[in-house]
């Protein structure tokens, strides 16, 4: 009975697609904090485009990981332990990045903001790179032994595919974010984002495209080759639409590219979830890595109700915050006069409560 494992393989591919599509642009916006924004107002415009949604986007990663654990425990165990150090980097990056979003505006000094801006930019880069590398390696192969454990030391996972996947997701995230900014901002930022997008997109999709094609050569099928072609077509459309100023379409088209990427990559890899580079007999597949049908059935029912709900209320969030953000909307950073300032305000004014000084 392979139906339920197949369904869950598809479900996990869908979760990764959702993650790359949604967090793709907020990771990209994070990197653009240092690459694209020219001053603090720009940076705050950028932050406010993703402010209400980035945390919800990140949950797609948690759900993808959790669903892998539940549906394919052996896949989860082998992948996460084999990639111990790269995933540690991803965790550190995600920690700093999340904290930075929240804390950046909490102290009104240049040094404080710059520190957290770097945390956001570098954190976004490392997270995107690490996730890309991990996905590339699970679709191209890891040195797994018979028990599913990595052999050959802490860096034995490394291969050219890791770089391809890493740069693939990083570069995609950057152009996806530019398309997103062109759609979500107004004024100079919007125009500049569109200009950058048109200029960068033909190059930026190359590493991910290379990863897609590489997987096709390893394990491709006719229909997955077709999807690769569709991916290329959507990039061309995105480029053309962005040149014409159709920002919504351009964003949708570059989003379609990443959908094609995951569909062609996971489609080609199916039914293997991690090929073993030591011996094909050690490869993990949807049959030898999956949970019982009982567990998968239970999860299917919950996901069939839960996932559409998630999509619905996340879509509603984007609807609520659909207005474009521009520098005109950004008020001054609010430094505040502390109610309790250790020495200055209180001094010896205790006896004249009406005027403790300023």
């Amino acid at each position: 009975m392979e139906l339920l494992p197949t369904i869950w393989f598809v479900a996990i591919a869908v979760l990764w697609t959702g993650y790359l599509f949604l967090e793709g642009f907020d990771l990209g916006v994070g990197m653009l904090m240092k690459l694209f924004a020219r001053n603090n107002t720009d940076r705050r415009v950028l932050l406010n485009t993703i402010g209400p949604v980035w945390d919800g986007n990140e949950v797609w990663l948690l759900t993808a990981a959790g669903a892998t654990f539940a549906a394919f425990p052996l896949w989860y165990a082998s992948l996460f332990s084999a990639l111990y150090l790269p995933l540690l980097c991803v965790l550190v990056a995600l920690i700093f990045r999340a904290v930075a979003f929240e804390y950046r505006g909490k102290v009104d000094t240049e040094r404080w903001r710059t520190t957290w801006d770097w945390a956001i930019a570098v954190g976004s880069f490392v997270a995107a790179f690490g996730i890309g590398a991990a996905l590339a390696l699970t679709t191209t192969g890891l040195p797994l032994d018979a028990n599913g454990d990595r052999s050959g030391g802490p860096f034995a996972w490394f291969s050219g595919y890791a770089l391809l996947g890493g740069f693939g997701v990083v570069a995609f995230a950057v152009v996806h974010a530019l398309a997103f900014l062109a759609l979500k901002t107004d004024g100079e930022v919007r125009l500049r984002a569109r200009r950058w997008f048109v200029r960068l997109v033909p190059v930026a999709v190359l590493p991910m495209l290379a990863w897609m094609v590489a997987v096709q050569f390893l394990s491709g099928k006719a229909w997955t080759w077709v999807i690769v072609v569709a991916g290329v077509a959507s990039v061309v459309l995105a480029w053309q639409w962005a040149r014409n100023g159709s920002e919504g379409r351009a964003f949708a088209a570059i989003g379609a590219f990443v959908v094609c990427a995951t569909a062609s990559i996971f489609g080609a890899a199916f039914p293997v979830v991690i090929p073993s580079t030591m011996d094909p007999a050690f490869s993990l597949t949807i049959s030898n890595a999956s949970s019982s049908d009982y567990t998968l059935g239970l999860m299917s029912i919950v996901a069939a109700v839960g996932l559409p709900l998630v999509i619905a209320y996340q879509a509603w969030t984007y609807w609520v915050f659909r207005r474009r953000v521009s520098s005109a909307h950004i008020p001054e950073a609010h430094g505040f006069l502390p109610a309790i300032a250790a020495k200055v305000l209180v001094a010896k004014e205790n006896t004249s409560p009406s005027n403790p000084g300023a």
Binding site: T63, H329, A339
Partner: protein
């Protein structure tokens, strides 16, 4: 240290740390939601101020819970791959459901709440907070279901050496979870209660100290105003009300944790008798509760432990609800465990160097004995302090004593200590098992796993040490940052969370007329949390 020990330290440190943020998130979230509801119903300005102020502190803390939570989900696979393989069929589901049904809700609706003050209708905006808070409660439920299965496996069958879920209802209504969930939630409320109480006390004390509030002839307080944004008469109301809410919440929390804790204790005496015997350092069968035991509690055996003060009957009451039933001590349990689960670890490569070693069934009693007492002690002290605080401030006056104020502020830490101690006790008390056997269910009493077999075989001690050092260092730095920010915003008072208070005070900041179109209040795209 070998890989196993490093991995355990890492799990312990990251989990205890994560669980400093989580109870404050859950408890404070509930409190802020109630306060905002009061504002929605009454329209009183002090409730809006309280919502904004406590909401700000809530968010500063919330993000740390989010950031450190990701580590938790990843490290099962990274550091404990054998564990993940063994339990995945049943343990993965609650984790996946937690992400799908709780984390999405929490993060999405909290984003709506933070940024939606102007976009959403008041009722919808309030509903978003409630949904997010309920999401956090659900997340507590799911993760405790997962943990409870490690404490007391149910609803499974062994197939090819691995437990396979056969009864999801049993897993999701595990009686261990059903008492642990309310116990944890009440514990979280305790953290929030002390947090409100301590900070409100500090502000009220400071208002007196700064001469803003004075005491009238009738012994009651006369609130005054200072020429600082937000430090007006309404400010007094904000703090006194926060203080009372905090004190009441702390007391409710203690009552709740005591009741559920009693149920949980009775359950644990059946499900993990060794854990409870170790919590008492009770070597011999008996009925007495140890008030003070001395000796070498860390020795994992009973050779050197003397109960100095014992209250007869109380242990039986804790375990069985009467005063006479003999409760089994460590020595007689040891024999039972050895008979049922073996005397030595199997000769299996999964156990690494530990294969074939003798199994230590007695947990580290230093930890279980004192952990149990610290949990109860800290919780009790906090509740007692809350009661005294309510009484002392019944006329609305905070004592002028600086030391009392400091006590109130540092008292914030007590429930944190109680929460941490409780979890350390229950997790360490489960050792040497990572999945403890379920003694009272035929057929699955062989579903258990020794912690020694759970660690990732392919991951080196060096890798684990790297992550332990890196994560601990980062966590330490971030703790300093979080506390500094909390202190800054506490000192900032309500105006730090409501810049509009500063503007309505007629403070001309003189920067709005530089030609650029200023932010139009009615047309704000976002509430500009960033």
């Amino acid at each position: 240290m070998d890989a196993l020990e490093i991995a355990r330290w890492q799990f312990g440190i990251t989990t205890v740390y994560h669980f400093m943020m989580v109870p404050l998130t859950i408890g404070l979230g509930l409190v802020v939601a109630v306060i905002q509801t009061l504002w929605y119903r009454t329209g009183k300005p002090e409730y809006l101020r309280m919502t904004k102020f406590w909401g700000k502190l809530f968010l500063i803390n919330f993000i740390m819970g989010v950031a450190t939570g990701i580590v938790q989900e990843f490290q099962f696979g990274m550091a404990w791959s054998e564990y993940s393989r063994f339990v995945g069929d049943v343990f993965g589901a609650p984790l996946a459901l937690e992400a799908l049904l709780a984390f999405f809700v929490e993060s999405t609706f909290l984003g709506l709440w933070i940024f939606g003050w102007k976009q959403l209708k008041r009722g919808v905006h309030l509903a978003c907070l409630w949904i997010a808070v309920i999401g956090s409660v659900f997340s507590a439920y799911f993760i405790i279901v997962a943990n409870s299965w490690m404490q007391h496996p149910v609803g499974v069958e062994m197939v090819d050496g691995r437990p396979v879920m056969t009864d999801a209802w049993a897993v999701f209504t595990n009686n261990t979870a059903l008492v642990a969930v309310p116990h944890t939630l009440f514990g979280a409320l305790g953290v929030a209660g002390a947090f409100l109480l301590g900070i409100a006390w500090y502000h009220l004390w400071r208002r007196r100290h700064d001469g803003i509030d004075v005491i009238g002839a009738d012994g009651r307080l006369v609130a005054g105003e200072a020429n600082i944004p937000g430090r007006d008469k309404g400010d007094y109301t904000v703090w006194i009300r926060s203080l009372r809410i905090g004190a009441v919440v702390a007391m409710i929390s203690f009552a709740g944790t005591a009741l559920t804790g009693d149920l949980q204790g009775k359950l644990m005496f059946e499900q993990q008798p060794m854990k409870m015997a170790a919590a008492e350092a009770a070597c011999h069968d008996g009925t007495g509760f140890s008030v003070l035991s001395v000796g070498n509690l860390g020795a994992k055996n009973c050779d050197d432990i003397v109960a100095v003060i014992e209250v007869p009957g109380i242990l039986s009451f804790l375990a069985k609800g009467d005063f006479t039933t003999e409760v089994k001590g460590v020595n007689s349990l040891l024999g039972e465990y050895k008979e049922k689960y073996g005397t030595h670890l199997p000769d299996n490569p999964l156990y690494g160097d530990r294969a074939g070693q003798e199994i230590q069934y007695v947990p580290v009693m230093e930890v279980t004995y004192w952990g149990f007492r610290m949990m109860i002690g800290f919780g009790g002290v906090a509740a007692l302090a809350a009661l005294i605080a309510l009484w002392v401030t019944r006329k609305g006056v905070i004592p002028g004593s600086k030391w009392l104020m400091r006590l109130a502020v540092f008292g914030i830490l007590a429930p944190f200590g109680a929460n941490a101690a409780g979890w350390i006790f229950t997790e360490m008390g489960r050792q040497p098992f990572v999945v403890a056997p379920n003694p009272d269910m035929n057929g699955i009493d062989q579903v258990f796993m020794f912690t020694a077999a759970a660690v990732s075989p392919g991951v080196s001690a060096g890798e684990l040490m790297t992550s332990l050092v890196v994560l601990t260092a980062i966590y330490a730095v971030l703790l300093v940052v979080e506390v500094k920010l909390l202190v800054k915003y506490v000192r900032g008072g309500v105006a730090s969370a409501m810049p509009e208070l500063a503007h309505t005070k007629g403070e001309d900041r003189g920067k709005d007329d530089d030609g650029a179109p200023g932010p139009d209040k009615a047309d704000d795209v976002l509430a500009f949390a960033y």
